[in-house]
């Protein structure tokens, strides 16, 4: 400014308005940008929480409507809840509307024989009756829905704006929209011809209609299971159609059972596991299991007590997929029993299977009077003697909610409508109905993070299987395999990338000339500009086949490359001092030469090593159970021993080496170092093989844990690809952190006579520790959230094994693959948002920890 005055210009004392304006404008823009960023992140969290939150909702039950009816043993309702039918004790089916409970139609059985047993399928569409004379009859009960235009309404139907619903003759009429009406009625009930099972009365019956409902099928097979007197009877009713005529054949198999009730009447009998097993539930709490060998014989194989002491079983039902039988006890517990393979320590039955209690839910304090399974999911409604109805999700052992209904007697029959949205509770003279919204029954803490005993599994497991195999099986939404996969990907990626990136950064910053540094750094940073999908794609399509073909070489080079580099360093020390200084600038180039040489060495060694350790077939050895486990231990122990040896040499043994070094000439010491190097290598090999031999001799095998069957998309591949992805980030931040260490620290250290290496390790790295650490943690955050690489290269199988050679599925990959196909608002959809929230929390924890540690390191560095 003084120069301006000298040049004769007046000095401006006021800031011009444009600068002021710009200052104000920019400071506001910056404020808006900064706060906006935080707001945007909070909004993302809000969306995640908002979408996942309805998972917590408990079922919503509307108020109950009570109807006075006659005593029904079985009740059914249509999907809209306008028409219900009841099975009377004579076997007649009465159809009533659900407003005034007037009878609209009655379908008679046309038989005088006394009905002694009734059965209704879970979907409510099949009923079976057992009679006193030992015969059974079945019928399909179908609602007949028709959509008619308004001019087809018959005269008697009075539909108007005020009364949109009317009963006429045997049908319910209701407006569908302004021009059409819907007519709902029960189709004519046709009872099948009686099938004679035994001479004694049928006491309990279970029935499986032919589920392959192909109308062109030549034959159909229906299966029935019944208890008559002291006999259990399994029969198949085969109907063959040929040339318009049908012939029916009945095959019966019996076995004797011991009646465990006074009247000989079981609580429930169920055909389970695709009619290969049957279970009889007795009121005293004994479960009899009968195995059905196809077309040959049935036999009682097991009697298992379900309860102990004074407790009895008061009610029972089959769960949707016919793999679990539900028992309600007199102390208000709902038990789920399934047939599982017997463990080694359990006493096995003849067929190696056992009844096991897979689920137990405490629903109330009162005895359970009735249980029903929903036909849509593994939800069961449970009524107790106090009129409380509990909705449970059996798979996760969750009590979803309860509702109370006041009726004049104990509820003896519960029904859930065909869409799983209407609940009916019946007593001998009353029927109450309500509609309910079950919400998201699969969502529970246990379901997401705990082990769950799914049907057809022998033990509780963590499983992510978001689309069910059949309509009847449950979806499995444990987040643990995904969290595990994320951790596994991160771990292997960090194992590969952190040493590479941090060491490379230290070398770049401390040992490269500024000129070389300015060339090398952009090259490494170019990695970051590569889209991660390219990395994943290259890894999956180009690298994966080669990795499998040269697995031993790759594994060996992980060990050989560092060893060869250290060896070259020792050899470098052999050169005379003058030459060393002259060759200093060629050092990096020589390192580049070392790499292909060590790759060649690894390639050359791979053949002999593979034949020595793995009988020439590493991939085959991994996949098989036989072969010595020695090789696997060597694979783990040699690197581990080498690491321990290098720590020993630089730690406890370094004092001895230093005293030796100060007494010897440089050249002699260099020779000594090389001899020492080979001696240590031999010692490492010897010790590792001794330990490996001992461990494999003791029968321990790493296969099954760390090493197992090789898949071509595996954690090793992901480790390389994901490591590749994170290296540039860690490298850049670490290099900047090292560069930020003040020059004077280095100068002081070098001036005091420390070598560049000593300066680096004792001065620069400790003062840059905060930066190095945050570099690693930011790389970790990137690795946790990385999607495309794992999507391409991880195989996306939600496994939970530490095996390096198999795939996994990460949270981010699950989101990427499944969110587009999840139905909006479904449990699966909301669970994926929960998974996103979990991912967010994981990265948040990593970053927060990083920040805390970084602040501590920085405090220490600022004290320098």
């Amino acid at each position: 400014m003084a120069e301006n005055a000298y040049a004769g210009q007046k000095r401006r004392k006021q800031t011009p308005w444009s600068v002021k304006f710009g200052d104000a404008l920019v400071s506001r823009i910056i404020a808006v940008g900064g706060i906006g960023t935080i707001v945007a992140i909070l909004l993302v969290v809000l969306v995640l929480v908002g979408t996942a939150f309805p998972l917590l909702n408990s079922p919503q039950v509307e108020s109950w409507t009570k109807l006075n009816t006659t005593a029904y043993s079985k009740v059914g309702i249509d999907a809209d809840g306008v028409l219900l039918w009841g099975l009377t004790s004579e076997g007649d089916i009465e159809v009533r509307e659900t407003v005034g409970a007037e009878i609209l139609a009655t379908f008679g059985l046309g038989s005088d024989v006394e009905v002694t047993a009734t059965y209704q399928s879970i979907d409510g569409r099949t009923v079976a009756l057992g009679f006193e004379d030992g015969t059974i009859r079945t019928a399909r009960i179908e609602f007949d829905d028709a959509l008619l235009s308004a001019d087809q309404i018959p005269d008697g139907v009075e539909l108007s704006e005020q009364s949109p619903i009317a009963a006429h003759e045997s049908a319910i009429w209701q407006w569908f929209d302004s021009t059409s009406v819907r007519r709902t009625q029960l189709a004519e009930v046709e009872w099948s011809d009686p099938v004679k099972l035994a001479d004694e009365a049928v006491l309990a019956i279970d029935f499986l209609p032919d589920d392959s409902s192909n109308r062109f099928a030549r034959s159909s097979t229906q299966r029935a299971f019944a208890v008559c007197g002291s006999q259990a009877i399994y029969c198949t009713i085969t109907e063959k159609k040929r040339l318009g005529r049908s012939t029916t054949s009945v095959d019966k198999f019996e076995c004797d059972i011991e009646p465990r009730a006074e009247d000989g009447r079981p609580l429930q009998i169920s055909l389970l596991n695709n009619a290969s097993q049957a279970v009889i539930v007795w009121p005293n709490g004994t479960l009899d299991r009968i195995t059905i060998e196809d077309d040959s014989a049935i036999s009682l194989v097991e009697s298992h007590p379900a309860v102990f002491g004074d407790t009895t079983v008061t009610s029972a039902a089959t769960l949707l997929a016919r793999q679990t039988i539900l028992c309600g006890t007199s102390d208000g517990t709902l038990q789920g029993w399934a047939i599982v393979r017997a463990g080694e320590d359990q006493q096995a039955t003849n067929d190696g299977l056992l009844l096991a209690m897979t689920h137990s839910i405490k629903t109330s304090q009162q005895p359970i009077t009735s249980i029903i399974s929903s036909s849509q999911s593994h939800v069961a409604a449970v009524a107790d003697a106090a009129g409380q109805i509990a909705l449970t999700y059996v798979t996760n052992d969750t009590l979803l909610g309860t509702t109370q209904v006041e009726l004049d007697a104990d509820i003896d029959s519960l029904t859930i409508g065909p869409d799983g949205e209407i609940l009916l509770a019946s007593t001998p003279g009353q029927t109450a109905l309500t509609s309910f919204d079950i919400g998201h029954p699969e969502a529970s803490l246990k379901g997401y993070f705990g082990k769950v005993w799914y049907e057809a599994h022998d033990e509780p497991k963590y499983i992510w299987q978001s689309s069910a195999a059949t309509e009847e099986s449950e979806i499995k939404l444990s987040l643990m395999p995904l969290v595990f996969g994320t951790m596994k990907a991160t771990l292997y990626a960090m194992l590969i990338s952190v040493p590479l990136a941090i060491f490379a950064a230290i070398y770049t910053s401390e040992f490269l000339s500024p000129k070389a540094r300015n060339r090398v750094k952009p090259v490494v940073e170019m990695m970051a500009s590569l889209p991660s999908v390219v990395l994943g794609y290259v890894a999956a399509l180009v690298v994966a086949p080669h990795l499998e073909a040269h697995l031993m070489t790759v594994l060996l080079s992980l060990l050989v490359v560092p060893c060869m580099l250290v060896l070259s360093g020792h050899l470098w020390g052999l050169l005379p001092g003058q030459l060393l200084i002259r060759l200093q600038s060629w050092r990096l180039a020589l390192m580049f030469v070392t790499l292909p040489v060590s790759a060649l060495v690894a390639y050359g060694l791979s053949g002999p090593v593979e034949s020595w350790l793995f009988s020439s077939d590493l991939v085959g050895w991994l996949g098989s159970e036989d072969g010595s486990s020695f090789g696997g231990w060597m694979l783990l122990l040699v690197p581990a021993c080498a690491l321990i040896a290098s720590f020993l040499l630089s730690g406890p043994l370094s004092v001895w080496i230093r005293t030796y070094a100060s007494r010897s000439k440089p050249r002699a010491f260099a020779v000594f170092s090389i001899v020492r190097y080979f001696a240590v290598a031999a010692a490492v090999l010897l010790i590792a093989s001794a330990i490996a031999a001992a461990l494999s001799g003791a029968g321990m095998d790493l296969r099954g844990s760390l090493f197992d069957t090789y898949q071509d998309k595996n954690a090793l591949l992901v480790g390389f690809a994901l490591g590749f992805c994170v290296i540039p980030i860690i490298y850049t931040i670490a290099d900047d952190a090292l560069q930020a260490v003040p020059r004077q620290l280095r100068s002081a250290s070098l001036g005091c006579g420390a070598t560049p290496w000593q300066t680096t390790m004792r001065v620069v790295v400790p003062s840059a520790m905060s930066g190095l650490f945050s570099a690693v943690m930011i790389g970790l955050g990137r690795a946790v959230g990385e999607t495309m690489v794992v999507l391409c290269a991880a195989g996306n199988t939600p496994l939970m094994e530490w095996n390096i050679f198999n795939g996994f599925k990460t949270l981010s990959a699950a989101l990427a693959t499944e969110l587009p196909e999840a139905a909006k608002g479904s449990t699966h959809f909301r669970t994926l948002f929960l998974a996103a929230l979990v991912l967010f929390v994981l990265t948040l924890i990593a970053n927060t920890l990083a920040e805390l540690v970084r602040i501590r390191f920085r405090k220490r560095a600022s004290q320098l």
């Binding site: 040493p499 580099l565 250290v566």
Partner: protein, 79 residues
């Protein structure tokens, strides 16, 4: 006598001290940490080879798209 003995001892001490200072011992080689430097330098070399190799691979696989390969013309024995 004692003086001369002292003197000789002192000079001996001085010479050994000087020799230790001037002559490089194995200790200075150890402090230079060449093997460790080679290790970390090698990691940088690995990084550079990874990125250059990947770029080379992509170019090698991608660029031939611009120079279409000749269509293979097969002539069967019977024409």
């Amino acid at each position: 006598m004692s003086d001369t003995a002292d003197n000789t001892a002192r000079t001996e001490q001085q010479t050994t001290r000087r020799s230790r200072r001037t002559l490089e011992s194995g200790h200075s080689l150890l402090s230079r940490g060449e093997p460790q430097i080679w290790l970390i330098g090698g990691m940088l070399a690995v990084c550079i080879i990874m990125i250059v190799g990947l770029l080379a691979l992509i170019l090698y696989r991608g660029l031939p798209a611009f120079w279409p390969q000749p269509v293979h013309w097969l002539v069967l024995n019977d024409g």
